[in-house]
Assembly symmetry: C2
Amino acid sequence: MKKRLTLKLIAKELDVSVSTVSKALRDSAEISEDTRQKIKAFAKLYNYKPNIIALSLKNRKTKTIGVIIPEIVHHFFTTVISGIEQAANEKGYHVIICTSNNSFDKEVINMEILANGSIDGFILSVAKETQQKKDYHHLTEVIEQGMPLVMFDRVIDEINCDKIIIDDFLGAKKAIQHLIDKKCKKIGLITTIDYVSVGKLRTQGYREALKENNIPADEDLILKVEDFDKSEMEIQSFLKDKKMDAVFAVNEHFAIYAIKAFQEQGLKVPDDVQVIGFTDGELSKRFIPSLTTVNQHGEEMGAQAARLLIKKLENEDAEDEPFETIIIETGLVERNSTKR
Amino acid sequence: MKKRLTLKLIAKELDVSVSTVSKALRDSAEISEDTRQKIKAFAKLYNYKPNIIALSLKNRKTKTIGVIIPEIVHHFFTTVISGIEQAANEKGYHVIICTSNNSFDKEVINMEILANGSIDGFILSVAKETQQKKDYHHLTEVIEQGMPLVMFDRVIDEINCDKIIIDDFLGAKKAIQHLIDKKCKKIGLITTIDYVSVGKLRTQGYREALKENNIPADEDLILKVEDFDKSEMEIQSFLKDKKMDAVFAVNEHFAIYAIKAFQEQGLKVPDDVQVIGFTDGELSKRFIPSLTTVNQHGEEMGAQAARLLIKKLENEDAEDEPFETIIIETGLVERNSTKR
DNA sequence: TTGTAAGCGTTATCAA
DNA sequence: TTGATAACGCTTACAA
């Protein structure tokens, strides 16, 4: 194994001092044109690249961002990462990604390790377990240490930091309004139990839209799925004999189970019933009929998170600036599960 | 911003030398029980954590693995990463993920940056553009530098390094055999043009299976999709009036377009035509009918890649050990697009 | 114009 | 049992 070229090696080879080499390579005016050229030529020839670790140690900054997400095998998070990466790379930052697998312990450990010098700041979406446990000591610790933290999507209200969220409430409202505009009168809702914050907000949006249109909310038309694994059955029996003309589901999967159930009942989507989902994934695009959904703009979310973090990182006075909460607007993507 | 606790700070606080602190914390026998306790208690109280960057510089190893993939918004790669992460974490390694976005330039740049000290070794699946360009200087450079490299899935035959591939040939063969076992006689193939190595191998598997069963290959039943964006149209017109009883598609999307086209012709899947795809993604699972596919075992692939890399990293004599190529076996996942 | 030395946070070696 | 020192690779104030 050839060992990597260092300033020291170059210095020895060219019989000058290390600092001369360093300065020459950084185009310092202190160094004579002559030696500068000589050194640069040599460095180029042997393909010298400064050691990033040494620079990090020296500068006390790593120019890398740590991202912790609940799971990577998930289209939405994956788009967020993609956005983070792009925005970060533009500013010369790198990205380290760790997954918590929705485990509190793994989240804590990952944060601790990354916080020990590997990164300059965090972008984080908390694990389900953390939400349930309500133990946030690892988050406060990192913040107290002075390391900037941006939370996205699954954020914790009690934690004081920058946040990027999507407008679940408005997104749901838009979806319902869309159905109402298409003359739907009996609109069902398939949502999650309330402790999942996004489910809750989307349910509120549903109610609000009905209210604004003077349609009384019918509790019989609302299903709160208890168990994700049994959701297909729950949805199937829920949709029996309800005679709805539309359904809004808070995620892709529920929406697809709904369509399936309708089809089994001999109903046609969108002719007999219209369906809207939430989260615009591969599934929504390719399913037949393709799904009209509320798009969460994951990439933009990621890009905004990265930009916000980098702003804090590079702005010395950022310390006392107040924390921001950026709300990403959702958009309705019309496809074939609703009428044109 | 509170500054992080360092050995130096502890030393000053406790009025001992830095080296004493270092040794005490690492339970060196050199240090008296007394001071050791005192120092450890203090460190614990103030939550001392060694700076990883300093350790990396000192040890000349970072305990982190760099992963470069063509795209992250892609279910298969995402499962591979998941596998890499798990296996790496088990051995105390971290993972940095960069995407090349299928761009040659970005691949080169990412590799250069990571190679400058941030990581101990690479796990890589090359960008499409790199495959086309056949410019591999960045790969050979890294290898010459003595940095271990493991390629997976999209590998380059000409590069001498460890490789993890899936058995595309055998996977395709299995799929076709499965169809033949179900009494299919006219089996179509929807594949890519030949320069995509996996498409080529899967096509070969198709031919081989037919041959072994003494079924002559009919070139009219083979479609090589030229343009991914227009694949839906191409597939639709290809499937007109061919009277096949089965189709094997080299990816999920082609398979779904095929089903769609059949349905539009009034044919039922799987009753009239059976369909098998490749790559087991979300889409295959949820589509109606759910897709029978060849599973690529992405997680296992990732885990094997990580383990192989770490083996090289930790084994001093690994230098002269020959490079390995590990072949991950595919498995057929039976669902509703083929008959039971 | 060039070089020396200190420092970033550690650990290992050797001396006290 | 403890501490001083050098080293990892780099930058920079200061000295020559």
